[in-house]
Amino acid sequence: MKTKGIVTGIVSNLVTVKVDGPVAENEICYIDLQGVKMMAEVIKVNGDIASVQVFESTRGLKGGDTVEFEGRMLEVQLGPGLLSSVYDGLQNNLATMTEVFLQRGEYTDPLDREKKWDFTPLAQAGDKVIAADWLGEVKEGWLPHKIMVPFSFKGEYTVKSVKEAGQYTVDEVIAVLINEEGEEIKVTMVQKWPVKVAVKGYKEKPRPSRVMETGVRVIDTLNPIAEGGTGFIPGPFGCGKTVLQHAIAKQGDADVIVMAACGERANEVVEIFTEFPELIDPHTGRHLMERTTIICNTSNMPVAAREASVYTAMTICEYYRAMGLKCLLLADSTSRWAQALREMSNRMEELPGADAFPVDLSAIISNFYARAGMVVLNNGQTGAVTFIGTVSPAGGNLKEPVTESTKKAARCFYALEQGRADQKRYPAVGPLESYSKYLDYPEIVEYLDETVEKGWVDKVLHAKNLIRRGKEASEQINILGDDGVPMSYHVNFWKSELIDYVILQQDAFDAIDALCPMERQRFMLDLVLELCDKDYEFEDYEKCRDFFKNLINELRQMNYSAWESEQFWAYNESVKKMIA
């Protein structure tokens, strides 16, 4: 018997409902607006009054309208066909909606029910299995998509039968399991999971020990992010947050990419699904869209679904992680999600925390970041969810609640600086303020020693130190004047400019420079450090400047040349001649 209720109050998308039975926190209900069923979520209960946030516009809703509670939380459907899809925050398939305008109460199926998938069994009758164990596999594009014992199954099961290899739809029974009580349970390719609950179903969550390559020098070389790691990109508007995030999405070394466009511009999402189907994944040679799922709740879509969108995205990542895959979740921007929380908290007349955000903001953010990570599955294989969120600090001021809370939760910090953006030094990631805590992990240091070169992290720290020294020199030059400082200050300054122009700056719109593989990054850093470690004598600071400017120009041309091409080596030669 479902709990029912009637609407008693409305402020924007916060609706109070008088209920006639039990309701749960975060339970889903449908409000009937003249035949249109609008989804809503319980966010507070007080006596027999439930406050629900409606995932739609409440225009036209009346006191006395009826509400029906579903007895479940907000769930997503997990199964083959998630990749290349474009969903809204509640996992409605946006591609199968017919109208140009979003219709209230129109909910579409996230999965294709007709499509037949090539199934291969992985388990056999008699196998003992637990939640998240693999029963079979279908090919989703080129990825082996595992069909698992649903995450919600508790205890141990015995496999009674698994379908033989063949073509099945997602709703056909592919296995029958027997639980400890001896009951038969049918399993299809689809399972449901409440988005706000972290998916477990793995043996352990060790510290990350590998680096996820992005092809962006300022990340991979200077502040690498680990596979299963967390990072965030705060920055004022116009500093290139989106361009940087798209670069990571295009080039990141991951099997599955989920992009959550959370309260951001619709045209940015359009850019993704216009360009991604055309672009090729540099790691597999397949189309980028084949490994990408887009969760899209743009800024003009209902505010309450913004919060849902990041959870939906994370749950999909966790699902693929349980298949032993490397997933990358990009959420742009977590500030909009925090603002959605603020709007609701405000309407519920809760006592506000800093900047009117709810007081538990910090806890919500760190819980969410904690869902990322590398895991060892029950069968010993590993999977990872790497999470990079952007933050849009109000007024570009990093001393605000969302940035501060995120800083506590994320391990990598990529600070975009207005000053660098103004000078068109893109990506505008500040080299000194940004950090990657993974550079302190002995596992990561060892990994880089083996995969890049021995002593790599020391070189990276050396480069950072040169930048710091250059900054100090530049401050002194600004105070004392070009003639007021010893020549070594000018040399130090120009050495840091060399690193800045050649390593830090990267042209995201140049076909070659946009993607810099690790091997090339190693080569360039070694070359630049070789140049920096030389001693230079100049007659005056103008000669010093001219020398370095020419050097920088040659090296930039090198960045624009195809890796190991004739042109590339010619510039390399010319650089070597300049310092001979």
Binding site: G60, F101, S299, N300, M301, D482, Y560
Partner: protein, 437 residues
């Protein structure tokens, strides 16, 4: 009037912007007439209903007659809108007849993002500070950030009249009467009246009425873009005054303010308007150019700050002391969609020329700082300063009106005048092709 009307005659509470009363069967966001003034339901709590009165509550007594109309605000749309001037409620203010047409609720649903197309049509304006450095694309939304003393309305009118569009819809919020007349005369003088539609709230009208203006303008825009497949340009000035009206209402409803006493929902409220900019799968498109006035150039204030996060860039007007002209600041201005057309719809060297010219202009600013601090300038510094003057006068100033090809050629001329090819840092292939010997 509707056959079925619910009339009440007892108000429970009155503030400057809202009234509340006990009423039954009231739907959210529906309109009501309170003592002859139009109002809209903004909150219901049990049978206590709060209404926002658009023209202010002055003179409304507690026994005022309240009549609920059963519908949210609407606009009648048809071809008859063309060439007309309306107030915030969509009533003619030009002495002409009421418009006949289909009645549409304003502030309707959003376009499914999946049905959008990527904007790709260049909107040339002749102003190099825009076309060269911050190229506009149809379907884009972009505001001018300007101090109140900048000629933003003039620049916007210029841009609108030079742009190749089918309709220009002006949403004026808190316009001074002089500015309203300025727009009217500019449109008339350009002989463009037949493609103009205006929704005007002047400083003489109550501030809360402004809240209707963007939705009115955009409902008309959607009609022409969706039904008639037209290219529509919407001008919204001044969005800062719109946001001020939002904060008045939220304050009267006892909501907890966030930064700069703005409502916590400011981001969503502004996004709902700006995100109406769209390139439809058909030829139709809505482009929004807005004005956000600043307080002494402060872009960290909540209004420009939230706007910057929503819009696809911003055009920053600033008085340049070197040339005495108003320029489009190349550092603070940005068009996020420019790469969709630069080098694709324009010459291949466009983006590199733009970046190099701005970088050199930045070097000139550094030289200026050195000069101000009393240091000797190098030869390079002197060349940068000389370049900056020419660059500001020949390209950044808002009175420039040339083609993009001419802008690029001008930039190459300036490079050759003051710098060596290596100092520009431009890709060798372009240097070989375009360097002025």
């Amino acid at each position: 009037m509707k056959a079925y009307q619910r009339i009440y005659t007892r108000l429970e509470g009155i503030t400057k912007a809202t009234v509340s009363l006990r009423a039954k069967g009231v739907s959210n966001e529906e309109l009501a007439v309170v003592a002859g003034k139009l109002a809209q339901v903004v909150r219901t709590k049990g049978d206590l209903v709060t209404l926002q009165v658009f023209s202010g509550t002055e003179g409304i007594p507690t026994d005022a007659e309240v009549c609920f109309l059963g519908e949210p605000p609407t606009l009648k749309v048809s071809e008859q809108l063309s060439g007309r001037f309306f107030d915030a409620y969509g009533h003619p203010i030009d002495g002409g007849p009421e418009v006949e047409g289909e009645e549409r609720q304003i502030g309707g649903p959003s376009v499914n993002p999946y049905k959008r197309r990527q904007p790709s049509q260049l909107i040339p304006t002749g102003i190099a500070g825009i076309d060269l450095n911050n190229t506009l694309v149809s379907g884009q939304k972009i505001p001018f950030f300007a101090d109140p003393d900048q000629p933003y309305n003039q620049v916007m009118a210029n841009v609108a009249l030079r742009a190749d569009v089918d309709k220009i819809i002006l949403g004026g919020m808190g316009l001074s009467n002089d500015d309203y007349l300025f727009f009217r005369h500019s449109f008339e003088a350009a002989g463009a009246l037949d493609k103009i539609i205006c929704f005007i709230n002047t400083t003489e009208n109550p501030p809360v009425e402004r809240l209707l203006v963007p939705d009115m303008a955009l409902t008309a825009a959607e009609y022409f873009a969706v039904e008639k497949n037209e290219k529509v340009l919407v001008l919204l000035t001044d969005m800062t005054l719109y946001a001020d009206a939002l904060s008045i209402v939220s304050n009267r409803m006892d909501q907890i303010p966030s930064k700069d006493s703005m409502p916590g929902s400011l981001y969503s409220d502004l996004a709902k308007i700006y995100e109406k900019a769209v390139q439809l799968p058909t030829e139709g498109s809505i482009t929004i150019i807005a004005v956000t006035t600043l307080n002494d150039g402060d872009i960290t204030h909540a209004i420009p700050d939230n706007t910057g996060y929503i819009t696809e860039g911003q055009l920053f007007l600033r008085a340049d002391s070197d040339t005495g002209k108003v320029i489009i600041d190349p550092f603070r201005s940005l068009s996020r969609l420019k790469q969709l057309v630069q080098g694709k719809k324009t010459r291949e060297d466009h983006s590199q020329v733009m970046n190099a010219s701005v970088r050199l202009y930045a070097d000139a600013q550094n030289a200026k700082t050195k000069l101000e601090n009393g240091f000797d300038l190098s030869d390079y510094d002197h060349r940068c300063l000389a370049y900056a003057k020419d660059y500001a006068r020949e390209l950044l100033a808002i009175d420039v009106n040339i083609s993009i090809e001419e802008m690029l050629n001008t930039a190459w001329k300036l490079f050759a005048r003051y710098f060596s090819p290596a100092e520009t840092g431009i890709k060798q292939a372009f240097i070989d092709k375009y360097w002025v010997q």
